[in-house]
Structure formats: C-alpha cells, structure tokens
C-alpha cells in the first residue's frame, strides 16, 4: 500500500513543455515533500534519466521535439526503467484518449485541468490498484 505521505520519499521527473503547468505540478509535488526534476521535452527527459533515477515520471503527451508517446517508448526500451511508473498528463479530454493512453503502457492518466486538492490522492489510489507499481515503489524505499 502506498499512501499520500509516501510522496515525500519520491523522486519525480516532470516532463512538460508548458512552463505554467510545469511550475504547478512542481509546486504541488514539492509541497508534499517530493524531490522534483523537470524537463521541457522527451529528449531532455531521456538525458536526465540515469543521472536522476526517478521513482515516478509525469509525462505530458503533446510536446515539441519528442512527444509523450515516443518518450514512453524510449523509456521502456531502457532495461532499468521498464518498470518505472509513468503517468500521462494531457489536456485532450476527447473520447477514446483514455483507452489509447493506457493501451500505450502508461500507468495512469491525469487530465487537465486537474484539481491540486485531489489530484495526488487520486493518483496514489490508482497506483495502489496496480501490484507491479506498488511493488516497484515499495522496493525503492
């Protein structure tokens, strides 16, 4: 079981091209005690991976240079990161997006706009449904 208090132990990589969204997510996670690194697109994120070794990655879908789909694919290709929980963030709230995102291999999906009051609790609750994610984050402790 993961609890919201565990967020304080996490290293989170936020990959997001929109500066405001990046700041918002960073503020929230740092407020909960997480250590946060940011990248503006997929390529930058991949360059940061081994050095930062995140416990969790929050990945925007629509980004320049390298979008979220491609970035996820590349992350999964790296042996030591094929299990790291990757959360999609998207402002696309059209029908079918959710299915497409989960099918692609994301572990959860946050749709914009999200509520800072509840988004992390919902995230923790959703991650608890997935045994491999719980095991992964548990082993990190």
């Amino acid at each position: 079981m993961i609890t919201a208090a565990d967020i304080a132990k996490w290293k989170v990589l936020i990959v997001e091209d929109d500066a405001d969204a990046r700041f918002l997510m960073t503020y929230l996670l740092e407020f909960k005690g997480a250590v946060v690194h940011v990248a503006e697109h997929g390529e930058e994120a991949l360059a940061l991976l081994e050095e930062f070794f995140p416990d969790l990655i929050i990945l925007d879908i629509a980004m320049p240079v390298m979008d979220g789909w491609e970035t996820l694919k590349r992350i999964r290709e790296i042996n030591i990161f094929d299990q790291v929980p990757v959360i999609a963030v998207t402002a696309h709230a059209m029908k079918g997006d959710r299915e497409r995102i989960l099918e692609a291999g994301f572990d959860y999906y946050i749709s914009k706009p999200f509520s800072p009051a509840t988004v992390l609790d919902e995230l923790v609750q959703a991650l608890n449904q997935q045994t491999h994610v719980v095991a992964y984050l548990g082993a990190k402790r």
Partner: protein, 318 residues
Amino acid sequence: MVILLIAVLFPTTVTIETAISDYGVFQVLLTGLGVMISTITTVNLRRIQDQAVSLQAANQALTQQNRELDLAKREADEANRLKSEFLSTMSHELRTPLNAILGFSEIMKLGMGVKLEPVSYGMIERVHSNAEHLLELINDILDLSKIESGRFEIETAPFDVRALVKAIESQVSGLLAEKVEFQVDVHGDLPRYMMGDMKAIHRVITNLLSNAFKFTSQGHVALTLRPVKDEMKWQIQVQDTGIGIPPDALTYIFEAFRQADGSTTRKYQGTGLGLAITQTLVREMGGTINVKSELGRGSTFTIVLPMDIRQAEKEPSS
C-alpha cells in the same frame, strides 16, 4: 399471290380478269403501302433514336449528378473531419491555460504554502469559481457541438433501471437543500432491464434535476419513471415546486444560451446550455421532451422515450 388476295378481298364485285387488267393500280397502291410502312418505320426509328439520344443525355446527367453528389459527400466528410479536428485542438488549447488558472487559484484558496489576507482570499475565490464556470461552458459547448455534428453516438445496450436511479441519487445528493425534499418514484410496471444509452439517459435526468434544484428553494423535486400506457414507450418526469417559467419563455428555454429571464443567468449560475443539450440528446434517442410550468408554482418536464426490451432481459448489465 396478289391475284389470289384480290380474289379473296373482292369475291363478288370484281372478277379475276378485271383484277388482272387493273394490276397496275394495285401495284401503285401496294407501292404506296410500302412507302407508308417504310415512312412509319423511319419515323419510329427516328423517334427511337431520339429517345435513345435523350436517354443517353439523361444517363450522362445522372452520372454527372452522381459524381457531383460523391464530391459533395467527400467535401462534407472532409468538413466534418476538420470540424472534429478543430474541436479537439480548441479543447486542448482552452484547457491548457485554464489548468494554470484553476490550479494556482485553488492552491491559494487552500492555503497550500501560501498565506492570504481575507480580501485577497475573497478575490482569488472569485477567480477560481469563474474559471470553473468557464470550464463548464467549454465542456458544454464541446458536448453540444459533438452531439449536433452526430459524433456523439447513441449506444444501445441493456441497462438496469435500478442501477441508473441509484447512480442518479448519489449524484444528486450534492444538490440537496434543507428545505427541498427529493422524491423518487419508479413505477412497478416499468421493466427493470431495458435497451438504451444509459449514459445519455443519466445525463438528461441529471440536467433536469440540477435545474429543478437550482430553481426550487422550498417544497420538493420529484423524479418519476413510468411506462406510457398502451404504448411501447416510457416516461421520465421531473417536477418541482420552484419559481416556474413565464409562459412566453417556454418557447425558447431549449435554445442554447437562453434562460427564462435574461437576468437569471447571473442569479442562477449555469451555462445556459443544459436544456439545449438535454433536448438534442432526447431527440437523438428518438424521444420527445415537453414542459409545463406555472409562475411561482413550479415546473414539470416530461421526456418520453421509446421502450426497447429486446434482449435486455437476457443480458443485463449494471
């Protein structure tokens, strides 16, 4: 042959001899006949030829028309695709700044690491509630255009009426006011399992209920589901004891962005799209919606939907 024919034709009045001597006359007659026949044939042939030509022309016109129709259809499909794409992009572009506005104003409101003076708090609360309203508007506009462009597909699947009512009750619990009683009546004769689009039905009922609660400060809001007698239809009724709708407004409350009283938009928050969406959805489901209202007494909205119980009892889902 000719003589025989003449003998048969004129057995009593003309002798065979006369016939033979007058052979030249008959030959003229016969030739005339031949000319007549060939003329008739020629005329007929020409007519047939003319008809063939005009048929061919008609055929060509039809082919041309088909080509044009095909082109028009392709153009319409393309326009529809562009509209979908535009909606999707617009939705994305509008949500991105809203995410920042809603997010930061909520963080300030909740005081997550930020301390506010009471005046600032009041202001940021307004920023937040207006941003929420804007988001609601965007969602409703997108929904309405999705339904209108036919991209919102009405699904037909078995659903459980009891599960539907339960879901509605739990959603409405947030709207309940102290002086307003919420009554739910599901008629015993209504089949528990029916075919239809549960999400769409859920949406229209909650739209009507949220209006009813919004405009009712005391008394009751009643939801009634019952079969229509002697017809394969069923009825959803939402009745309230609220402020009611002026008679002249009854004609346009289903139009987008029109509320009964221009000033109510401000007094009673809402996007002004709820009833437009409701009516469009009901029509898409092959149903009708009606309203009766008396100022100061309340309003009654009645939706009638076709009842389909094929297969519904065989493979119920929740």
